[in-house]
């Protein structure tokens, strides 16, 4: 039953082919068996999952089941879960048991979904390879020597290995789309403000957005229906109605105008990745779409812009970890300053400290205008590029990542090389627009992702465009040989 999409599982549960408890037990078995191979989970919530499965089975028996009742999922360990450790991949929060649920968790619980556990991630979502996690790296299900991407590497690996059919994730500079691309699964980063961030541990508040990693666009639409929407507890949540994302999945694509981002087909893009992308684009042409080349001239500055804005916001957000109210505290502090410094110095990992210090530097007296204000102005230029492009086309397409998954350890000693992995994904975060990655082929035997971006609040269009491709192709149904069997 592990190979079924969420939509298929929903039908089979309704047809009583198996119970929610049987499904949950089967997947919990896969979670346990995959853990030594993938390390995709930080915490497994077995007893809670079985209790919720029982409730879901009762709902089915009583005819009270909704569209998501009994469907399994995993939460990225950045979302607070009441009574369960919420670590954010950090030693700092290794002992933190959340006293409340994130809105996303609350909503998906209320929809009857069954949480299998909390997925591994780069520490505080800072990383593109999942190597910065305090709990060790996640391995790519397609090749255990390779990274799954990051920061939502655990979520992407879990879905790719069919250990969980869907997982929540977050995206500040590509952390949903890049791992989705590297693991051969579907990922959606909604518009900034579309999904509540209450209880989602903050990294860079003008960029962070919660979303999903799933097998298919249809599955993402089903879950986003329950996940999106206004939340008075999140001051950046937008009060606009949520359309039914499932209802418009099958709208025809005839007349769709697709903009190809010229800056993405640059010398940094691997030739065989480009070939997959071009072939995917020809599928869209067959579906009646028109391809139009568009230029976003400021987009090549998105990496330097991001590495001012994100660290600046991170240095401010992570100031809350002080060793006083929650989280790690050093042994025998000699005074308050020593308590702050050593709790943070020992509690945070190397990359998090690098980002905090970068942010502290760019915000420090005398440098603010030269770095932060300058970056905010360039961000505006990038934003204007997107707006101009969406005046001409309906969606933008290009590669999600410049190459397929790389080896664990290959880039971990060179932060700049690591940062350049997100060269194609950061723009959407800076402009706040929704974007997806969908599997579109293989290069050197490893998955390649096609990126699709749309104007603000165009999630329904993106899901429709992605679903149309997934009806024509089966890239999203491929799974790694090592995880093909039901019993691992």
């Amino acid at each position: 039953m592990h190979t079924f999409t969420l939509a298929e599982l929903a039908k089979k549960l309704r047809a009583k082919e198996f119970s929610v408890t049987e499904l949950t037990n089967s997947l919990l078995g896969r979670v346990a068996a995959s853990q030594p191979k993938l390390n995709a989970f930080i915490t497994v919530t077995e007893s809670e999952a079985l209790a919720r499965a029982k409730t879901a089975d009762e709902a089915f028996a009583a005819g009270r089941a909704g569209p998501l009742t009994g469907l399994p999922l995993a939460h990225k360990d950045i979302f607070c879960t009441k009574g369960v450790r919420t670590s954010c991949g950090s030693r700092m929060l290794d002992n933190f048991v959340s006293p409340y649920d994130a809105t996303v968790v609350e909503k998906l619980d209320a929809a009857g979904m069954v949480t299998l556990g909390k997925t591994n991630m780069d520490e505080f979502a800072m990383g593109s390879s999942n190597e910065t996690s305090f709990y060790g790296p996640v391995r790519n299900p397609w090749d255990s020597k390779l990274v799954p991407g990051g920061s939502s590497g655990g979520s992407a690996a879990a879905v790719a290995a069919r250990v969980a059919p869907v997982a929540t994730a977050t995206d500040t500079g590509g952390s949903i789309r890049q791992p989705a691309s590297l693991c051969g699964v579907t990922g959606i980063k909604p518009t900034y403000g579309r999904v509540s961030r209450y209880g989602m541990i903050a990294f860079a508040s003008s960029l962070d957005q919660g979303g999903l990693i799933s097998i298919s666009a249809e599955d993402a639409a089903m879950v986003l229906n329950a996940m999106a929407g206004f939340d008075p507890r999140d001051s950046t949540s937008v009060d606009t109605p949520v359309p039914d994302y499932v209802a418009t999945l099958n709208a025809p694509l005839a007349g769709l105008k697709i903009g190809l981002i010229q800056e993405f087909f640059d010398k940094g893009l691997s030739a065989d990745v480009e070939k997959c992308i071009r072939e995917a684009l020809s599928v869209y042409e067959k579906l009646g779409a028109t391809l139009i080349e568009v230029k976003l001239p400021s987009l090549p500055l998105s990496v330097p812009t991001y590495y001012v804005v994100a660290p600046a916001e991170c240095s401010s957000n992570l100031a809350r970890f002080d060793g006083v109210r929650y989280g790690y505290r050093c042994q025998d502090p000699k005074d308050l300053l020593d308590l702050y410094k050593r709790s943070r110095g020992e509690g945070f990992g190397a990359e998090v400290k690098r980002r905090i210090m970068t942010g502290t530097y760019v915000l420090s007296a005398g440098y603010y205008d030269a770095y932060y204000l300058k970056a905010q102005r360039v961000r505006q230029l990038i934003n204007q590029d997107f707006r101009r492009a969406f005046g001409e086309v309906d969606v933008l397409m290009g590669p999600t990542a410049p190459d397929v998954a790389f080896a664990i350890g290959a880039k971990s000693s060179d932060p700049i090389q690591m940062y350049l992995n997100d060269i194609y994904t950061i723009g959407a975060n800076l402009a706040g627009v929704p974007a997806m990655s969908i599997p579109c082929g293989f290069a050197r035997g490893l998955p390649v992702g096609l990126q699709i971006a749309g104007p603000h609040f165009a999630e329904a269009k993106l899901l429709n465009v992605a679903h149309a491709f997934q009806k024509e192709t089966d890239w999203h149904r491929r799974l790694p040989d090592a995880f093909a069997k039901e019993m691992l």
Partner: protein, 96 residues
């Protein structure tokens, strides 16, 4: 641009981070490279461009009525605290 040891120590102090001696040269190297990377922004023509603080301009911060919405759950919240006494968070002595 290259950041020296003193600059790294000063940044770490401002950020309230203790660094080991071994960490300092590592951050000297990587922060210098990051400063070079973000230096690419200097070339952008940004005269007259409004700085963009967040992606949804035109949306004002909402206000809510100034009423109590939370119930007292300090015992629950303080379960995560390293050291608590009489509902107070304990830290090393600040005032002699």
């Amino acid at each position: 641009m290259s950041l020296n040891r003193d600059q790294i120590n000063s940044i770490a102090h401002l950020a309230r981070l203790s660094l080991t001696d071994a960490e300092i040269p590592v951050y000297q190297d990587s922060l210098s490279k990051i400063v070079d990377l973000v230096g690419q922004l200097d070339a952008a023509q940004t005269a007259g461009i409004e700085p963009m603080a967040h992606p949804l301009p035109g949306l004002a911060q909402r206000m809510r009525p100034d009423v109590v919405t939370e119930k007292d759950q300090h015992e629950l919240y303080q379960r995560n605290a390293p050291q608590v006494e009489a509902a107070l968070y304990l830290v090393p002595k600040v005032i002699e």
